[in-house]
């Protein structure tokens, strides 16, 4: 579904990604872990071109999306993204947050979009918040809404950039629960996280990134039970 070839990203003199190669298949739940500054968030943000790669190729559904001629807005409609800081639109109600993109991009009529939004809100138990503004919600609620907002576009793939890192501890569970359900429904997911429990339970593959590259890749069982590289062993000894 996504093929990444020799991906490089530099910020000024800072070489953040150093030739990442990876292949994501339909239905996989890829969990990316690694120390901060390892390039995992940049890698994720390159996948939907929020960061423009310095060099390298990204193919999505057989389309070379790093080609400057491609209509990136069209591509992004098929890739949901959930951010660490939720980024709900502060000037819009929850309902408007969810329906804005499908309606303005003319994928749905307003009525249809609202109906769909309510269905999704019910799935995460927040239908009664439809007319509230983001400012009045808790972090966990905001993140569940952010997931719903992405799902309203019926994406083929969901990207999660440390979705629970900004949450109070007692709210992490409710967000992971929604993500788990989403995984069970067959969604292809790429998740950057520090939640090792989630990686173990939901991931089909776990990647370890360090210094701008994927150092190790394995099934969750093997990844945690039999780490190969010394860097990963050291990392796991610190976080587990």
């Amino acid at each position: 579904m996504i093929i990444v070839k020799d991906l490089h990203k530099k910020f000024g003199g800072n070489h953040v990604l150093r030739g990442v190669d990876y292949h994501i298949h339909q239905g996989e739940k890829i969990v990316v872990v690694g120390p901060s500054g390892s390039g995992k968030s940049t890698f994720l943000r390159c996948l939907n071109l929020l960061e423009i790669p310095t060099s390298g190729e990204i193919w999505f559904d057989g389309q070379l999306i790093t080609d400057p001629k491609i209509n990136i807005n069209k591509v992004r409609q098929h890739m949901g993204m959930v951010f660490q800081h939720f980024n709900l639109f502060n000037n819009l109600t929850i309902m408007e947050n969810i329906t804005l993109a499908p309606v303005k991009l003319k994928l749905m009529a307003e009525e249809e979009a609202k109906e769909n939004a309510l269905k999704l809100l019910n799935r995460v138990g927040l239908a009664e918040k439809a007319d509230a503004y983001p400012g009045s919600l808790s972090g966990g609620q905001k993140q569940r809404i952010a997931i719903v907002r992405s799902l309203a576009m019926s994406p083929k793939l969901m990207l999660f950039d440390e979705p629970t890192s900004a949450l109070d501890p007692e709210m992490v569970g409710e967000v992971l629960e929604v993500m788990k359900e989403l995984a069970e429904s067959g969604m292809t997911m790429v998740v950057v996280t520090h939640e090792m429990g989630f990686a173990r339970e939901v991931g089909t593959k776990v990647l370890f990134m360090d210094e701008g590259n994927i150092i190790e890749e394995n099934t969750p069982q093997e990844f945690f039970a039999n780490p190969q590289s010394p860097r990963l062993k050291e990392f796991l000894s610190k976080v587990l």
Binding site: L50, R76, N87, K104, P134
Partner: protein, 232 residues
């Protein structure tokens, strides 16, 4: 009681006799006409210039539009508005006999420079994550600005925008230079006509003050309404 009589007499001469209040009212009309149209031009122009100034190339360097915006802002802020008005009236639009039109355009262009910096600050104060979220959903840059960033930027910019409009109302007092009889000029003319300065000058000062006080109250109301999405 003599002083009271003399005050009333002076007030009578300054405002009531020969329906002189009509002149002040007409002057106020011109003041507000110029201020309101200039403010409209200023908001539109200022918003466009703010985006021009914020535009960057892929490598992060400013575009040609950003350079043009900078030159415009520099020139307008670097010269007195009286001179700008005279230059427009005597040189640039010398074939236009409509002083009000010239004044509206001049003050509009003038205000645009200040509004652009106000709007730029408002836009920069909107969290980058808002734009990223909009773009990640597939909305275009323009749609993201239109539906998400500009409404929030406008809210941020409302207090200084109100300030700018208030300054504008008072700054129109220089349109007498191009022969318009605005409120200030009417008061001035009346002073020479009656050999009496107190009533016309203080009277028109009170009118300015009242108009701006009403505006302040309305702006506070608008701000409260726009802030309703902030309830926490």
């Amino acid at each position: 009681m003599d002083w009271l009589n003399s005050v009333l007499e002076k007030a009578n001469a300054a405002f009531v006799e020969k329906d002189r209040w009509r002149l002040y009212l007409k002057g106020l009309g011109i003041t507000m006409e110029v201020a309101v149209f200039a403010a409209l031009i200023g908001i539109v122009l200022g918003t466009i210039v703010a985006f021009m100034k914020l535009s960057t190339k892929r490598n992060g360097k400013p575009t040609i539009f950003a350079r043009i915006a900078n030159i415009y802002i520099d020139i307008i802020r670097g010269t007195p508005s009286v001179l700008q008005l005279l230059i427009m009236w005597v040189i640039v639009m010398k074939d236009c006999k409509n002083g009000v039109l010239v004044a509206c355009i001049t003050f509009g262009i003038n205000s645009g420079a200040y509004v652009s910096e106000i709007m730029r600050a408002g836009i920069l104060a909107v969290d980058k994550g808002q734009t990223e979220a909009g773009r990640s959903l597939g909305l275009s840059h323009f749609q993201t600005m239109r539906y998400i960033v500009i409404p929030q930027a406008f809210k941020n910019a409302l207090p200084p925008l109100g300030n700018e409009f208030i300054v504008l109302i008072k700054e129109t007092a220089i349109v007498g230079y191009v022969g318009l009889s605005d409120l200030t000029r009417v008061a001035n003319q009346m002073t020479s006509k009656l050999y009496e300065a107190f009533m016309p000058l203080i009277g028109s000062a009170i009118v300015y003050f009242t108009i701006i006080k009403i505006l302040t109250v309305l702006l506070a109301k608008l701000e409260r309404r726009l802030r309703k999405s902030d309830n926490r």
